[in-house]
Amino acid sequence: MNVFGDSMIWPAFKLSILVTLVATCVVVLLGMAFAFVLAKRKFRGRELLDAIVTLPLVLPPTVTGYYLIVLLGRRGVIGSLIYERTGWSITFTWWAAVIAAAVMALPLMVKSARAAIESVNPQYEIASYTLGKSELETFFRITLPLASRGVLAGVVLSFARALGEFGATLMLAGNIPGKTQTMPLAIYEAVVAGENRQAQILALVLTAVSVTAIYLTNKLTGGRAQEL
């Protein structure tokens, strides 16, 4: 019984790490693009876009998950198109877990990165323009390095959020051991099944990661950050 039980932790751990890493990469790329546009471009609907991206932060995760099903489910707005062409649906695959985790973590990345980019004195950017540098080159060589601490803090927070994702993942990806069962879902199942020892181990692992994340974020955003 114990052997069977322990075997639940390892696949969940592996899957969680994989899903979280992929989701974090997606979040960093998308999040930086959103943050750049929101911080640097003035256009109608800018705050609306910010609100939409931020929504998963305040919505109950199951509601976000519900919307994801409406969008990506087999009969969903986008999901049905994919299903008709390919016969494949993203629901109940590990990609669904990636998408759920990414959508839930995106607001943290966008918020942190936008604030970090906006806190860089725009006069530095003007100075760079006078030296003949384009807006894009200026962003990558001046703005981003000066905003790097805030951006990195966003990455760490997003990673932690993606690792802990439960509600939206359950809705879109289900809870299939070895396939879509990440650590938070495994904890739930362990507790329901009365496997307290497993729940304990999983909880400790997730707690350790979260504490590390908070420590790193504080280190990144505090102290010398203001000096630049």
């Binding site: 906006e118 860089v120 530095y124 323009y129 003949g132």
Partner: protein
């Protein structure tokens, strides 16, 4: 020769706050006073041309308009054959294409780069020689730093440098982009009197050595006399006098 003829409605007069440190938003200006209209016409031939006037008279706005940082409501700005701005024909060159070197009041050295990297950042790739190698850029940056006698700060970061050193690095960086004109916005307002006197001599010498025209904004009469070849006095957004430093300062002191 730089030719400027611009008009711009300035919403509210601005007074510069501390030059040492800027607020994170980059807004180191405080809005004050009544709206006024900038309406100036002047030329800057070779040598050092001074835009002289009290705070909030519009001289910095003139400088920023030449650089392309602010856009005039109407008028025309040209340097030799190149038209930077012409409201009549709808020309408005972006900052990057104006090839101006700008020395900011608070230097704005990039804090994450060393002095050498700051200067190298400004070096433009040659028009036909393609991209310069990193080593070649560093070499050129060193040359510029030694031109200003501060080769020894090459590996230092801006926070480790004195005001005078930062000012020289800022000038070296402005020169690095091989500019058609150098614009200096109260470059000596944040250094002590002794450093100021020495830097004035160096700025003048640098201008003469490079032959690039300098347009220099200040409200300090001593600076006008020390390095100005031509002076344009601006008050309340209008040019009220122009001439050589002696003529202008004589009238000023009466």
């Amino acid at each position: 020769m730089l030719q400027v003829s611009i008009r711009k409605q300035i919403g509210t007069r601005r007074i510069r706050l501390g030059a040492e440190r800027q607020a994170p938003s980059g807004n180191n200006e405080r809005e004050t006073g009544q709206p006024f209209r900038l309406d100036v016409e002047f030329t800057a031939p070779s040598g050092v041309t001074i835009l002289f006037g009290p705070s909030g008279s519009g001289k910095t706005t003139c400088l920023r308009a030449v650089a392309g940082i602010v856009t005039p409501d109407e008028g025309r700005i040209s340097l030799d054959e190149r038209i930077y701005f012409d409201s009549a024909s709808g020309v408005n060159l972006p900052i990057q294409q104006r090839h101006v070197g700008f020395v900011f009041q608070d230097y704005l050295l990039f804090p994450h780069l060393t002095a050498e990297q700051n200067v190298a950042y400004g070096i433009r790739a040659g028009e036909n020689s393609g991209a310069l190698s990193k080593a070649a850029k560093c070499e050129r940056a060193r040359e510029l730093l030694s031109l200003l006698g501060i080769e020894y700060v090459a590996r230092q970061f801006p926070r480790e440098m004195s005001g005078g050193e930062s000012q020289r690095v800022a000038l070296a960086r402005a020169l690095a982009s091989d500019p058609a004109i150098v614009l200096l916005d109260e470059p000596l307002s944040a250094v002590d009197a002794k450093t100021r006197a020495r830097l004035l001599v160096e700025i003048k010498a640098t201008q003469q050595r490079t032959g690039i025209p300098f347009l220099y904004v200040t409200h300090n009469v001593a600076e006008v006399v020390e390095i100005g070849d031509h002076v344009i006095v601006i008050e309340e957004g209008q040019v009220i006098r122009r001439g050589n430093p002696r003529q202008v300062t004589l009238v000023q002191s009466e």
